[in-house]
């Protein structure tokens, strides 16, 4: 698809990992979407920021640790990752706790980005 017709698609992640499957299956969508040459961005708000918290160790719960997949996103040219500032603060986290390079933005700034999208998919 040519540059002019690419749609801006934002994936909105607001749920913590492991407790429910949404984070993992959302990531699966993003990986497939990368093949479609659209303008993809990911935003992590609320408990969604926990998806990127460094150091997941899932052996004890016998679930797949999908954190390495976030680090692979760059290979798929998915490199617009935004994290909500207020969500980090409320959870005692900072940018240094994130497992991949992210841009920290306020909720209002994320709201502005949302306005610019053609499609928002939330899981």
């Amino acid at each position: 698809m040519s540059e002019g017709t690419a749609k801006k698609i934002m994936y909105v992640n607001r749920k913590a990992p492991y407790g429910t499957i949404y984070a993992l299956e959302s990531l699966e969508v993003v990986l497939i979407a990368a093949a479609f040459d659209q303008e993809v961005s990911l935003v992590f708000m609320d408990d969604g920021v926990y998806q990127l918290k460094k150091g997941h160790q899932t052996k004890g719960i016998e679930m797949k640790n999908f954190q390495p997949t976030y680090r692979a996103l760059d290979d798929y040219d998915v490199n617009k990752l935004y994290v909500e500032k207020e969500a980090l603060q409320a959870r005692g986290l900072s940018q240094e706790d994130m497992c991949v390079p992210v841009e920290v933005k306020s909720a209002a700034e994320i709201g502005k980005l949302m306005e610019e999208q053609d499609v928002l998919l939330s899981f």
């Binding site: 698609i9 949404y22 659209q38 499609v119 998919l121 939330s122």
Partner: protein
Amino acid sequence: MNFGILVNEGPYTHQASDSAYQFCRAALAAGHQIQRVFFYHDGVNNASRLTEPPQDDRNIVNRWSKFAAEHKVDLVVCVAAALRRGIKDENLAAGFRISGLGQLIESSIQADRMVTFGD
């Protein structure tokens, strides 16, 4: 206008599938089209033809099947999510088809609007 719909929850536990159905009906009544309804996460359970709700309740699965037949609406169940949850061709209700996540992305590209129903 062409609407793409994403349903992320199964029938009965959450209202998501009901809300999506009512939205789709209202959209067609207003002269719009439903480009596709994509079922993801537990939403794939909407496609199980083995569900048997009590007589006095709505039959969510049959309702989607009938809707697809009457209005030629494309009901797509995500294959990866479906296999995880035991939804296969042998228990797939009429009007649904199993396909890849690419169908969801394609829907969000082709449809004029994408509306998500979930929990």
